[in-house]
């Protein structure tokens, strides 16, 4: 028994449900007195704990049975340095290890990439027409973004545009940024020979055309391979549970889960918003070992949310696909798009994403 029945009822009013798609947008259903009782769900049957560790040497896309709670960042780290990464949408890629990459040569790399971008942009152009070629490339290390000393320092790539209209004006407009990072990528680092640098997670904000040019250059120069990193619904439930358990100072936004109903002629999305305190209360009843989360706990947590929803709307959310999870910590979309909201949990979120990226490239 989850034992959360009484406690969950306390914050009754925080649950809002929205259904969208196929209907006018105004069809939000506000729930009154919802969450009267939380489902006393038994342990879901048949979902045995997946064992961590390789299945015959390697596990093909399976997630581990338990994970550690994302650690809260130490206070000595300067949140200002990574503040620019917050509240932006980052598209996720996994990157296979970079061959002969040296963090000491970032300046040279930036220059080479700049030349490459100029050449790519000029392709097929007899004459530079719009004066758009003045893309400046900056590459720098982000040593703050790592889990341990073993991790290589993250690398930030920024493209900015020099305006052709006012060449004397030194102000440049940032048009694209991307960063490579590795937070607690021990699994991969251990077995990697020298000459290879493991920065398996690549996050991009900016036009796809620039991503393509920068990505191609990295592929050509360091013989690596980029792939979009999608987040499976299972991993989204992990995120929902993990981020619910995180302590946040200020009162944060509601947790919102977005589901899409498959196999319909018209898309139907169901948005399920829960007051952060309510969902935290539910999570506290589910979680047993502090600091660690198991697959079983995640399942129970989601099961509770689903059966609560079913009680009121007679919809089995377990039959739909979880598309997006947003909490006060971060928001993640299954297409592999993430937005960080809290700088003290940046490392923690990156740790999970690094793990997902590594499992994709292995």
């Amino acid at each position: 028994m989850a034992g959360g029945a009484g406690r969950g009822g306390a914050g009754a009013d925080g649950t809002g449900v929205q259904m969208a798609g196929g209907r006018p947008a105004g069809s939000a259903i506000e729930m009154e007195g919802a969450m009267r009782t939380l489902p006393s769900s038994g342990r879901p049957s048949g979902t045995g704990r997946l064992s961590r560790g390789p299945l015959f040497g390697r596990n093909y896309g399976l997630s581990p049975g338990s994970r550690l709670l994302p650690p809260r960042c130490q206070e000595d780290a300067d949140p200002q340095k990574t503040a620019f990464l917050l509240r932006k949408q980052w598209t996720l890629y996994s990157v296979s290890p970079l061959y002969k990459f040296s963090s000491a040569d970032l300046k040279d790399y930036a220059r080479m990439l700049g030349v490459f971008i100029a050449a790519e942009k000029q392709k097929g152009l007899a004459v530079d027409v719009d004066g758009e070629l003045g893309v400046r490339v900056a590459m720098s290390g982000l040593p703050e973004l790592r889990g341990s000393e073993q991790d290589p320092a993250a690398v930030l790539v920024q493209l900015s545009l020099r305006s052709s209209l006012s060449p004397k004006n030194s102000e440049e407009k940032l048009i694209w940024s991307g960063w490579f990072c590795c937070v607690a990528g021990d699994d991969l680092l251990e077995n990697l020979p020298e000459n290879f640098t493991c920065l398996p997670l690549f996050l991009v904000n900016g036009a796809e055309s620039y991503t393509a040019i920068v990505g191609s250059w990295f592929q050509k120069t360091f013989d690596c391979c980029f792939r979009r990193l999608a987040i499976s619904p299972l991993n989204l439930t992990w995120m929902a549970a993990m981020w619910t358990g995180c302590k946040v100072d200020k009162n944060t936004a509601a947790m919102e889960l977005l589901f899409s109903v498959p196999h319909l002629p018209q898309p139907l999305d169901i948005s399920y918003a829960i007051h952060p305190e309510d969902v935290k209360a539910l999570w506290d009843t589910v979680q047993k070992t502090p600091g660690e989360i198991t697959q079983e706990e995640v399942d129970v947590f989601m099961e509770c949310l689903y059966s609560h929803f079913h009680r009121h709307f007679k919809i089995h959310l377990s039959a739909t696909k979880l598309v997006k999870v947003s909490t006060g910590i971060a928001s993640a979309h299954c297409d592999g798009i993430i937005k960080f909201l809290q700088s003290q949990y940046l490392i923690g979120v990156l740790m999970l994403l690094t793990e997902l990226a590594i499992s994709q490239i292995q």
Partner: protein, 747 residues
């Protein structure tokens, strides 16, 4: 009578319609045909439409060609009609090369009003190319200034935009001086500069024109652009300093045409099923959108090209290494490879080695682990990303993916070694595979799975493969067996090579790997035995299937002698008996050969055991010998001693109770499977009887005995039943061997 008439009527439009397709002009004239009633196919409808358009375009062109005096657009409906026809066709399909001559002449001759000329120029969209001659003649109209300056301007913009479409440019280049003359025209100057910029070659930079340029010199960007070009060609003649920064030199000239050109190009590309010859340098080689991060065919390029660009301190080092290392781009021949192998470096992207046999050679003799790791990562990611059944909406790339799998397989064959990335890809994707897409490529790749990992193979490969195997067609079953046979052979070959290279090193390390090897091979053979038994049931012991199964066992029966691996596994009864009782002599012959080889291998093993030269870690279990003996007894009983159903002590054998056999009503059931009566061999017996007793039509098979039996046997051997010969000569102890050879001599 009536009936015949009506059928005539109904046939008629069909006939006419048929002729439409061959002779379209006939259809146009034949206005009597009721198009509404005759059933038109889609194809002929679009044909008609195209044809109509072609027709009206021709009419419009001939109208413009003949036009003499100024015609008012408002007053002339004919002009209106032809102009709008021209515009619509040009925007949709583009104009044929021959149209440009006519229309440029009209537009620039000033015969018509500016409004009409503008519309004409704007509709000058090439379907393919623009003939140079039409450009030259239009430039002469341009020079005589019969048209207004607005039209001149528009013409220049058209010329700039369409520059790449002009089929040849030699004569246009000859007009360089004429264009230069128009630099004086303030209004035209920016566009003239652009035209000159496009036309300028090195020799133009040296020409006296340059001196004139100084008069026009200003800081206008278009002139700067031209000057910078001159300076590039002849720096000594242009003394002024030009700003270094790139700027927008020219105004956009392509405004009215850009969208139309790309629309026409897209439409023409989409319509043609065969790839169109690319007329333009600017045309994109790939018509469809491709993901930037996956390039299946990677060109080889030197790794040190990048290093050369990097920083000052490195470039000095690299100037040495540039002498030392040989660029892979220049690697063309095998002798080149041999000469430069010591100064060769792997390309910047390891993916490029797959299509480059010379680099594969180099890889084969390289000990560089990181090269393999780079290839592993690249291939692993590419295979997963491009897999047509694992990734949603990837179906349209199936051909390309097939090609890639083929390339990977060929590289594996070349290296005689499986790629770990391919192996992992198979493990990942086989559970999702439908058994159809890229079938032959996938099955080929299976044959290169490395041996070391049978435990993984069992759950990741055998189980999904078995599911597909049982539920798919006969041919799929055969192809799976074929690729499993190749897999077995690859493993065994690998072992033989290992054995040769490790023969010097200590034996103990060999033995530990050997036990793993033996059990892995044994598991594979047992797996094939199981699925073969089931498949023979499912397919009712189909000859074709049996052939592939026995093919597999042809490798199995020789493992000990041919591949020096202490392992012999007999085929299961579910394979042996269907082969023994097969209706086809090919299967029976194959079985005989296999049993002969088993015998040879087992005897060799036994002898080795007896001699006890060294301690045998691996001994064939007595069960193997026992099983072999059971099979041999059954076989000899059936084929030779005419004691079928009697002497068979195999638990799954064909030993039957006499009483039961009598109930079948078959006389002489005992000899019904000997070499005369065996259904697979009876046709030979008939043939033999016909040759031996041409007059006898009773087909008395009982005649074949004694001396005739030996003759018959020799006849069978002569028919290519080599396996049967080897089997009988080795496994059957002829009592009268001596007498037989005597007989042979007599005969």
């Amino acid at each position: 009578m009536q009936r015949r008439q009506s059928s005539k009527h109904s046939k008629r439009p069909l006939q006419v319609h048929h002729s439409n397709q061959t002779d379209l002009s006939a259809w146009r004239k034949g206005e009597t045909v009721d198009t509404g009633k005759s059933a038109q196919s889609h194809r002929s409808l679009s044909d008609q439409k195209n044809d109509n358009e072609q027709d009206s375009l021709e009419q419009a062109l001939s109208y413009f060609e003949k036009i003499q005096d100024r015609v008012s657009l408002k007053k002339s409906e004919v002009l209106q009609k032809h102009l709008s026809t021209l515009e619509s066709i040009a925007l949709k399909r583009g104009l044929p090369p021959e149209g440009f001559d006519v229309l440029l002449d009209v537009a620039l001759s000033g015969k018509l009003a500016d409004g009409v000329n503008t519309r004409l120029l704007k509709s000058l969209i090439p379907a393919s190319a623009i003939p140079e001659s039409s450009v030259v003649s239009s430039v002469s109209w341009f020079c005589v200034s019969k048209c207004s300056s607005n039209i001149q301007l528009l013409f220049l913009r058209w010329l700039i935009t369409m520059f790449d479409f002009i089929d040849q440019k030699e004569q246009v280049h000859a007009l360089y001086g004429i264009f230069f003359f128009f630099l004086n025209d303030e209004k035209l100057c920016p566009y003239i500069c652009h035209v000159l910029y496009l036309l300028t070659r090195k020799e133009n930079g040296e020409s006296p024109h340059l001196c004139e340029m100084k008069y026009h010199f200003g800081m206008q960007p278009h002139l700067q652009a031209l000057l910078s070009l001159y300076k590039l060609f002849c720096p000594e003649l242009v003394s002024i300093t030009l700003p270094q920064k790139m700027k927008a030199y020219f105004k956009n000239a392509d405004g009215p045409w850009k969208a139309a050109i790309s629309a026409v190009r897209q439409r023409n590309q989409a319509n043609s099923t065969v790839p169109q010859p690319l007329l333009l340098g600017t045309a994109q080689p790939h018509s469809r959108k491709r993901k930037w991060n996956t390039q299946l065919i990677v060109p080889a390029s030197s790794a040190n090209a990048q290093n050369l660009v990097v920083g000052g301190k490195m470039s000095r080092v690299d100037s040495f290494s540039a002498n030392r290392s040989f660029p892979v781009e220049q690697l063309r021949t095998f002798p080149q490879l041999l000469q430069n192998i010591h100064r060769l470096e792997f390309p910047s992207q390891m993916g490029s080695v797959l299509t480059n046999p010379l680099l594969l050679h180099y890889m084969n003799c390289s000990k560089d682990e990181s090269a393999y790791l780079r290839l592993y990562y690249w291939m692993g990611q590419t295979l997963q990303e491009e897999c047509t059944w694992c990734v949603v909406d990837n179906n349209q790339h199936e051909e390309e993916f097939k090609g890639f799998l083929e390339t990977a397989y060929k590289a594996e064959c070349f290296l005689q070694e499986g790629f770990p990335s391919c192996e992992e890809f198979l493990y990942r994707s086989l559970p999702l595979w439908d058994g159809v897409s890229c079938r032959s490529q996938i099955l080929q790749l299976i044959s290169w799975i490395p041996l070391s990992t049978f435990s993984e193979m069992k759950s990741q490969l055998c189980d999904p493969l078995a599911q597909l195997f049982f539920t798919s067609s006969l041919y799929f079953k055969c192809s799976v067996l074929e690729s499993l046979k190749e897999l077995l052979q690859n493993w065994l070959n690998w072992h033989v090579v290992q054995l040769d290279s490790e023969s010097d090193s200590q034996l103990s390390s060999l033995n530990t790997t050997l036990s793993g090897l033996v059990s892995g091979v044994a598991e594979l053979i047992n797996f094939v035995g199981r699925i073969s038994t089931a498949a023979l049931h499912l397919e009712k012991s189909h000859t074709f299937l049996l052939h592939f199964i026995l093919d597999f066992y042809e490798t199995v029966c020789d493992i000990y002698l041919k591949y020096k691996l202490p392992l012999l596994i007999m085929p299961p009864a579910g394979v042996f008996y269907p082969a023994l009782l097969s209706m086809d002599s090919v299967n029976l012959n194959q079985l005989c050969y296999i049993m002969y080889r088993y015998r040879t291998n087992l005897i060799a093993a036994k002898e080795n055991e007896m001699s006890k030269k060294k301690i045998q870690q691996f001994k064939f279990s007595s069960q193997t010998y026992q099983e072999y003996n059971q099979y041999i007894i059954a076989m000899v009983g059936c084929l030779w001693t005419s004691s079928a159903f009697q002497k068979d002590n195999h638990p799954q054998g064909i030993c039957l109770d006499d009483e039961l056999l009598k109930k079948t009503g078959v006389e002489e059931y005992k000899n019904s499977f000997n070499i005369v009566y065996h259904p697979a061999l009876m046709c030979y017996a008939v043939d033999f009887l016909q040759q031996a007793w041409p007059d006898d039509t009773t087909f008395n098979f009982n005649l074949i005995k004694g001396k005739k039996w030996n003759w018959y046997l020799r006849y069978l051997y002569g028919q290519g039943l080599e396996g049967l010969k080897l089997f009988i000569e080795s496994s059957i102890n002829r009592v009268s061997k001596a007498s037989q050879s005597k007989e042979d001599k007599k005969v």
